[in-house]
Amino acid sequence: MNTEFIIEAAKAIQQSILANEHTLESLDRAIGDGDHYINMKRGANVIVEIEAELAPLKPSEALNKIGIKLLSTIGGASGPLLASFFISMAKVLESQAHENQGLKENGDESTLKIATAFAAGVQAIIQRGKANLGEKTMLDVLIPVSNQFVLLTTQNCDIKLICATLIHTAEQGMLATKDLIATKGRAAGLGERAIGHIDPGAKSCQLMIEAVCKLSLKELNG
C-alpha cells in the first residue's frame, strides 16, 4: 500500500458512496435522522479534493491527514468514529518501518502490517463509541472484517483470496444488522422498531471495504 493507492482508494470510495445515495439515505431515514449519506458524501468528497496535498506524503501521513480532515468535515456520529479509525491506523503504520511497501508488491509482512493497522483503527472506533459487536452499528461490519483480515494475513493467504473474503465478510456483517435491535447510536431509541432495517453506518462501511478490495483486485489482476 502506497500513497498512490490510498488516493485511488479514496476515489473508489467516493464513487461507491455517490452511487449508493438512495440506499444510504433511505436507511438513515428509516432508523436515524436521514443525514448519513450527506455526511459520507461530504467526507468522501473532501478526501478526494485534497489529493494534491496527500500525494507527496508517506502513507501513514496521508492516512493521518485523511483522519484529521474527516474529523473537521463529517461531524455527526460517523465523523469522529471514522476519523479515529484513520488516525489510529496511521499511528500504527508510522510506528513500524518499511511501510512504503504496498499490497502491489505482494509483501506478506506489509499486508500483515496493514491488517494490524486496520485492527488498531477498529479498536479506536470501539473505544471512542463505547460500542461492540451486535449493537447494530458500523462495528458489525468492521469487527468481523478486521478479525478475518488479521487471521488470513497471519495464515499467509493469497491477497486475492483475502480481498474476496473480506468483501463477503463485510456483506454478511452488514446484512446481519438487519435483525438486530440497536443499543448504540441514534437508532437506540427505537427498540423493536429498528428490526428489519440495515444500519446505515454498517452499509457505508461495507461499501467502502468492497470498493477498496475491488480496487486491490483490479490492480493485482491488471
Partner: protein, 334 residues
C-alpha cells in the same frame, strides 16, 4: 421541497450571516470553522459553550448573550458540529475559569465534544442534556435524547456562570436541572432536511408520531390523530411516569416550569391551547406551574408538532431561571 434557499450548500452560512447581522449587538460570527461568540467577551467566568446540528433554531445561537451562552457551534443541518469548531470557540471565549460544554445526548454530539475536550488546552466539563422521556425501555438506549429541556439548562447554567461560580458548581447545576426535567414530543408532519430534499419520514394525513425526536427520529408509536386534550394527557402522563421511575418527588405542591415548545410549523394558537390543557392536568397532579414558556424554542426545521417539557423547580433553579438574560431569543432584565 419548497424553502427559501439558494444553493443548498450555502444555506447554513447565509442563514448564520443573516443572524449575525440582525443581532450584531449581541454576537460575532466566525467562519471556517463556524462558531458564534458573544459580542463582548465576558471576563473571569466559566465560559459556557453549546452547539449541535443546525435546524433547531433558535437553539443554540439564539441563546448567546449575557446570562446564557458565551459561544455556540452550529453543525450542518441535524449533524453534530466538529471538534475544530469547539476548539476555536473555546479559544475565543475562555475567560480563565474553564469551559463548560452543554451537549445534547446524541452519539455524534457526545463524541465530537469529547474529542474537543480531550484536545482542549483548558480545563473543561460537560453537561449532557437528556430530557426526552419518549424512549422508555432504557436497556435499549445509550441514554435519553437531549431536546427542548436543553434551553432550561442553558439558561440556568448561564445565569450561574455570570456570578463567577466555578466550573464544577456550574456543571452540578446543569446536571441538576437536567435531572429534574422531562420532555416528550409529538410530530404531525415530518421535517425535510434541505440536502435530502424530501421528508425524513412518511406520515399519513390522520397519523401522528408520539415521542418523536427533534430530528424526526421515530418515537414511542405511530397513532391515529386524536383530540389535543387526549394527546396532551398522554404527554403529561409520560412525564409523570418518568419522574416517578426516576424517584423524583412531584407531590406536595411542587413548583414547576412548563415549556410548550413548537417544532417549527405549528402556530402559537395551537401551542397555547396545548399549554392550557397541560397546565390544568399538571395542577390536577398537584404540580403548580409557576413559570411558563410557550413558543418555538427548540425546533425541528419545518416539522409541525410540539413538545411538552416540565422542569421541577427549587429555589436555586427558580432564581437562575428568573435572572436577567439578553439573547436574541430569550430576553428579560428582571
Amino acid at each position: 421541497m419548497k424553502k427559501f434557499i439558494n444553493k443548498i450548500d450555502n444555506i447554513l452560512i447565509e442563514s448564520l450571516s443573516g443572524f449575525a447581522t440582525a443581532h450584531s449587538d449581541l454576537v460575532t460570527l466566525h467562519l471556517d470553522p463556524n462558531f458564534l461568540t458573544r459580542k463582548n467577551k465576558a471576563q473571569n467566568k466559566v465560559a459556557v459553550i453549546s452547539g449541535g446540528g443546525s435546524g433547531h433554531e433558535p437553539l443554540h445561537a439564539g441563546y448567546i448573550g449575557y446570562g446564557m451562552l458565551d459561544a455556540a457551534c452550529p453543525g450542518h443541518v441535524f449533524t453534530s458540529p466538529t471538534p475544530d469548531q469547539m476548539l476555536m470557540a473555546a479559544e475565543a471565549v475562555h475567560a480563565d475559569k474553564g469551559i463548560l460544554f452543554i451537549v445534547k445526548n446524541y452519539a455524534g454530539d457526545v463524541m465530537n465534544f469529547e474529542m474537543a475536550a480531550e484536545m482542549l488546552p483548558f480545563e473543561s466539563a460537560t453537561v449532557l442534556t437528556s430530557d426526552d422521556c419518549a424512549v422508555i425501555n432504557s436497556t435499549y438506549t445509550t441514554g435519553r435524547r437531549g431536546v427542548a429541556g436543553t434551553v432550561i439548562v442553558e439558561k440556568c447554567v448561564g445565569s450561574l456562570a455570570e456570578t463567577g461560580a466555578d466550573l464544577q458548581t456550574c456543571k452540578a447545576l446543569g446536571d441538576k436541572v437536567n435531572n429534574r426535567t422531562a420532555s416528550i414530543g409529538i410530530a404531525l408532519t415530518s421535517c425535510t432536511v434541505p440536502a435530502a430534499g424530501r421528508p425524513t419520514f412518511d406520515i399519513g394525513d390522520t397519523e401522528l408520531e408520539m415521542g418523536v425526536g427533534i430530528h424526526g427520529e421515530p418515537g414511542r408509536r405511530r397513532e391515529t390523530m386524536r383530540e389535543a386534550d387526549e394527546l396532551v394527557r398522554d404527554c403529561v402522563d409520560a412525564i409523570l411516569a418518568d419522574f416517578k421511575a426516576r424517584d423524583l418527588d412531584t407531590a406536595n405542591n411542587s413548583e414547576a416550569l412548563l415549556l410548550i415548545n413548537g417544532f417549527g410549523a405549528t402556530p402559537l394558537m395551537e401551542l397555547y391551547l396545548i399549554y392550557n390543557t397541560a397546565a390544568k392536568l399538571f395542577s390536577q397532579h398537584s404540580i403548580q406551574i409557576s413559570r411558563s414558556l410557550v413558543g418555538n424554542y427548540t425546533t425541528a426545521l419545518d416539522m409541525a408538532g410540539a413538545s411538552v417539557t416540565l422542569c421541577l423547580l427549587d429555589d436555586e433553579i427558580k432564581r437562575h431561571w428568573d435572572s436577567p438574560v439578553h439573547t436574541a431569543a430569550l430576553r428579560h432584565e428582571r
